[in-house]
């Protein structure tokens, strides 16, 4: 298990600077999630750690060693791809021990390692099947199994759950979290889904256009987003952002409050009309037009509202956010 240190990394393709200058420490044993919209550079960053892309400038250290010039197989890493990248002509067992066979690891040890991985991932009955005969979730486990037997210092995941349906995704999330606890390994995980980030990560790295917006625990990012980008990226439904008097009278350009920190009140607060309601069973989302602008409000339980209903809304003062003209947090 090892710490990953990225120093002043720059990646430029021709005239396009994908990543201008990035420095990041991934602590030993952590589950670090790189999250951000498409094109923000998170996959490029992961591939640089893996050695599949070379940085234009800067260095990468894994476990204290400088691996910037090393081949992927020499870095002590393993990777699970979005498409799993299993070898269709090999059985599950052969897929998993492919690297071990190449390294001429003796058969006894090979079988032992495969057995252990198969045990952790419940793959024993599938060992002699070919990938075509497996479901999506099973293929993904095989890809993870291939990663585990290498005993790497760092596990890399490139959007591994994107190709699974919603129910399977939730299940795999839990299994990945358990895997992390069991192996106590350093894991670097790329996703565009903030729910995966929030549920899996010890440390989240929010990226935007090749830069790091903020690094922190899920709770930190949720409670104290440093920029408007992070504030609106984390949390669903998105944080309400209001400009105008409400922000200016507090000395800011933008005032932010999450939908779950707004509540309905009988008196006081702001007046609003219901535009649209979404009933999700356990909660209700209200889309309102208020004197301050458009607002989204989240309430527990199932409450019925009609379009055009008048309501009054108040904010939980503890959870107010203020941002300056550049989108940065104030206070």
């Amino acid at each position: 298990m090892a710490e990953v240190q990225l120093s002043a990394l720059n990646k430029t393709f021709g005239a396009v600077e994908i990543i201008p200058q990035l420095t990041l420490t991934i602590p030993d044993g952590s589950f670090t999630v790189l999250v951000g919209p498409s094109g923000c550079g998170k996959s490029t960053l992961l591939r640089m750690i893996a050695g599949l892309e070379t940085p234009t400038r800067g260095s990468i250290h894994i476990g204290g060693r400088d691996v910037t010039g090393s081949e992927p197989s020499e870095r002590g890493i393993s990777m699970v791809f979005q498409s799993y990248a299993l070898f269709p002509h090999m059985t599950v067992r052969q897929n998993i021990d492919f690297g071990l066979r190449l390294a001429k690891v003796p058969a006894v040890e090979r079988d032992a390692r495969v057995a252990k991985a198969a045990d952790i991932l419940h793959l024993q009955p599938l060992l002699d099947r070919k990938p075509a005969a497996l479901s999506g979730g099973q293929r993904q486990r095989v890809a993870i199994g291939r990663s585990i037997v290498r005993n790497p210092e760092v596990f890399l995941f490139d959007e591994p759950l994107s190709n699974l349906d919603a129910a399977l995704r939730t299940q795999m999330r839990v299994e990945l979290a358990e895997l992390h606890k069991r192996l106590a390994a350093t894991m670097v995980y790329v996703t565009h889904d903030q729910v995966e980030a929030m549920t899996l990560a010890d440390q989240i790295v929010v990226m935007n256009a090749g830069r790091i917006e903020q690094v922190g625990s899920p709770e930190e990012l949720y409670r104290h987003p440093q920029t408007i980008f992070v504030a609106t990226f984390i949390g669903s439904p998105k944080m309400n952002l209001l400009t105008g008097p409400i922000a200016e009278e507090r000395g800011a350009t933008t005032y932010g409050i999450r939908p779950e920190h707004l509540s309905l009140t009988e008196e006081g607060g702001w007046s609003a009309q219901v535009k649209f309601t979404e009933y999700l069973g356990n909660e209700t989302i209200l889309y309102l037009t208020s004197e301050l602008g458009e607002l989204t409000l989240r309430i527990n339980g199932n409450q019925r509202f009609g379009t055009g209903d008048s309501v009054r809304v108040k904010a939980d003062k503890v959870h107010e956010h203020l941002f300056d003209g550049k989108g940065r947090r104030i206070g």
Binding site: S73, I77, S78, M79, P88, H89, L102
Partner: protein, 301 residues
Amino acid sequence: MSASAPSPARRWRLDDRTTAVVLMLPPALLLFTLFVILPLLDAGYYSLFKWNGYGAPSEFVGLDNYAQVLGHGIFWQSVRNSVIVLVVSIVVQMPLALLLALLVYRQTPTNAAFRLVFFLPYILAEIASGLIWSFVFDGNTGVAAGMFAALGMKPFFILADKDWAFFAITVVVVWKYFGFHMMIYIAALQGVPAEMIEAGKIEGAGRWQIVRHILIPQIKPALMVSGFFAVVGSLQLFDVVIPLTNGGPSNSTHTIVTYLYAFGLTRLKVGFGSAVGVILFLAAIVVAVAYQRTLNKEAAR
């Protein structure tokens, strides 16, 4: 058509479908039947007669033509030559094509230029290729002559040598067709997902190991198709042989088709030539069936 009267709209639609079929299908069927199927059936029929092509076939000889063909030493020589081409195609040409495909399949401008150059012989007419190489091999004034002169040796007319002439022909076949096979492999190689190769790299596979364990298994279908074309092509070799040797010297370089042409067509022995054609046809069927069987076996695995 249904017994009850269909509604006007429905009836129109039925007719429209029939119109389309009746209008658009028969031309192909007619052309194909008239110029492909009927001649093939005729070949079988004519092969049972001794006939010079004029009037109608009258001299029924049963399987005598076949006996003559199968008893003719030159025919067996031509079969042997066809097999030689086949073996050379599989043992020399395909590996060469595979090697080059592996060297130039990545999309770069230089690779694109090389791909173009290597494919060039394939688009030239076989007849032109044969004639070009006829010059190259010419002991008097060709490239061969120049090379022998430079080495201080007497000129060697390879195309006039009974033992070596066909070897020269196989060189031309390789020259002409390796680019075609290469392109098939390149298309297959370009279809291998990049992530699969990257996964191999991460597992520690070196260049050669990636080729052996990942690329070649992935392009198996292309290898099969290319092999099929090699076999079929070797059976039908004609155009290159004519300008190079015309079947000589001493009938040592005939292929099955040049044999058919020389001993069947030019001598107006229609029955005899048809028998050769039928034998060729049977060989093609055997190849096709064997190929289909191998395909099915692969698919079941």
